[in-house]
Amino acid sequence: MTVVKLSLPAVFILTAVGFIIATFNLPQASLGNAFGPHYFPMGASALLLLLSVFYFIRSYRERHEEHKEDEDIRAVAKGRTPYIIGGTLIFGVVYALIFDFVGYIIATLLYLGVLMFIINGKSKWLINVLTTIIFTFMSWYIFAELLNISLP
């Protein structure tokens, strides 16, 4: 729980530090004020760093207290939810990797099919298969044919 709660402020802190370092390394502008491009990102990331550190410390201090959001966070790890969310993301990356090579239709059939089975299980295989096929071809028709958007 504590790790989950601290990960988001940690991301903010890392982002802020990253931007501060990158701002120091920015080239000086050849037009106008040499440091013109530096001020705004520096100010915003410095403030972000300050407030995120503050929030991080506060979350750490309150780690044993019960908060409203705790129930939701526990629910993420309960039952099949972690598999559904994890599956969506992992196969989302796979989808991005194969999209250009196998084309929209095959990639979407695979990704949506896998998703439907992860979410609904094998027992509803007919609905899963039908939804996947109907959606893939209908969306392809609407976007590629009616709206003239070229899909690979």
Binding site: P41, T88, V93, F99, I119, N120, I127, F135
Partner: protein, 497 residues
């Protein structure tokens, strides 16, 4: 008011194609509004690619109809299922659901629809008279005033985002930091692009919007996907009684202007307007104890207020180019992509566009009554769509949408990353609107800040030099300090009690 433009706009709005788009937008909006977990922001975000290839004005009509249509739809699920379709429909469930349990679901739906119509129409009339003058006023704004106005909008949205202001500020600053990625417009210095040419123009905020509102929202909804569905109430008589109307008509007409004003103010939106409408009517009522037990005016007041607020929120968006909420920020992103740049100049250069929109909103509100009353039987079948089929499809639409923006699969990774971020924001109760808003206005905010300093030769006095700036600075200070003062007063009272 120029009647020539009004007639032109009306003629434009009633072309068969534009009528079709208003109707479709209203219908789609009603549906996304009805479905729990899907709000207008998600609806607009997912449907942006559908508008590719359309005339910009038609696309604008469609997207804005989705936006206000969602306000009608939100109350459907509040009344029937006690699960509000989005935050602005929460207040409608206080009395709507008890009415439905008493067997008056149809009457609650009908009175909510009529209240929405009045609220929406009053607000469109308000829009007609206020948007133009505001645009004329805004045209006098220099870079310093714009910078302060943006700062005020951001601080207002942070202080009004319910809960923790610290989280709101972090969310906003994170958005501002991300908005600095890309080529700097004044010096052409490449900033934080990590050598990727895709980042030269900055992070595409439409991808961020689709990532957070479509992917993030779906991921969050996966948590509840296996919960048993709520029991739905039956809809019988679809018309309300004379007593119900008599009790509701004053609340409806009082809440409409109230909601409108709340909507125009940055930061506040439909959810605050509907709560305010509800509590105001409960205080004014001679029988406040009936509120919460299923009384018609308890449904009518918040619905009138939130529809009015949603149209009111379009005023700062269109006449000043500054969105006051997450959803209007999404609309801004969509409009810019369509080649429509909201702001004072839009009113000068394209008055017909504005008048077409105004007329289409009048027509759209009438269509929505038809959709929500006559088609209610059909619509509530949508609520039967199992979420375990719906959510994967929305996810896929998000992917298609992202792809159509740049035809690059790199955007899929950005989409997934922001989906995870959206999920984390939702789980840890970080408000999303400040992030989206900051990301969208961040670039202009920085440019205006630097332009004002160039004009003044680096002196900060430029931010205090005009009466408008001084008023804005006072408003910024107030918006940040008022929540602290209020909570201090509350604590003091609690101690005394």
């Amino acid at each position: 008011m120029d009647y020539g433009y009004f007639i032109d706009g009306l003629m434009n709005a009633i072309t068969p194609l534009n009528l079709l788009f208003v109707f479709l937008g209203g219908l789609l909006g009603t549906i996304v509004g009805m479905l729990p977990g899907l709000g207008p922001a998600t609806g607009v975000a997912v449907l942006i690619p559908v508008t590719f290839g359309m005339e910009p004005i038609s696309a604008m009509i469609l997207l804005i109809a989705i936006y206000y249509g969602a306000m009608y739809g939100g109350s459907r699920s509040s009344i029937l299922l006690n699960t509000p379709g989005d935050a602005s429909a929460i207040a409608a469930s206080f009395d709507g659901y008890p009415m439905a349990k008493k067997g008056q679901a149809g009457q609650a739906l009908a009175i909510a629809t009529i209240a929405s119509l009045v609220g929406g129409t009053v607000a469109v009339i308000g829009f007609t008279f206020l948007a133009g003058p505001l645009a004329d006023f805004a045209i006098r704004f220099g870079p310093a005033e714009y910078f302060l106005l943006m700062l005020f909008t951001l601080s207002a949205i942070v202080s009004l985002s319910r809960g923790d202001m610290l989280k709101g500020f972090i969310s906003m600053l994170f958005g501002l930091v991300l908005s600095t990625i890309g080529v700097d417009a004044q010096s052409s210095v490449y900033r934080f692009t990590m050598g990727l040419p895709q980042l030269a123009e900055g992070i595409d905020f439409l991808i961020v919007i689709i990532g957070i509102y479509a992917v993030g929202e779906v991921l969050y909804n996966f948590i509840a996907i296996n919960r048993p569905p709520e029991k739905k109430n039956k809809v019988e008589s679809l018309w309300f009684t004379r007593e119900q109307w008599n009790a509701s008509k004053l609340p409806i007409f009082r809440s409409a202007p109230l909601g409108f004003i709340v909507g125009v103010l940055p930061g506040a939106g439909g959810s605050i307007a509907s709560m305010l409408g509800y509590t105001t009517e409960r205080q004014l009522s001679r029988t406040p104890e009936r509120f919460g037990q299923g009384t018609a005016e308890g449904v009518a007041a918040p619905e009138s207020a939130n529809n009015s607020a949603s149209v009111g929120a379009l005023i700062p968006l269109l006449s000043m180019g500054i969105p006051g909420s997450g959803t209007t920020a999404v609309l801004l992103g969509a409009l810019v992509m369509l080649g429509i740049q909201p702001g004072p100049l839009l009113f000068e250069s394209e008055p017909t566009t504005i008048w077409t929109l105004i007329n289409s909103m009048f027509i759209g509100n009438l269509f929505l009554v038809v959709i929500n009353i006559l088609l209610v039987g059909l619509l509530i079948k949508v609520l039967d769509t199992p979420s375990n089929i719906l959510y994967p499809l929305i996810l896929m639409l998000g992917f298609i949408g992202a792809y159509t923006l740049s035809y690059s699969t790199i955007d899929f990774y950005i989409l997934l990353a922001f989906g995870v971020l959206g999920l984390a924001f939702k789980l840890l109760r970080f408000p999303i609107a400040p992030l989206i808003l900051a990301l969208i206005v961040g670039h202009d905010m920085e440019q205006n800040f630097r332009k004002s300093l160039i004009v003044s030769d680096g002196s900060a006095s430029v931010f205090f030099s005009s009466p408008i700036s001084v008023v804005l600075i006072i408003m910024i200070i107030l918006s940040i300090s008022v929540p602290f003062i209020l909570s201090a007063v509350k604590n003091k009272k609690a101690k005394q009690a």
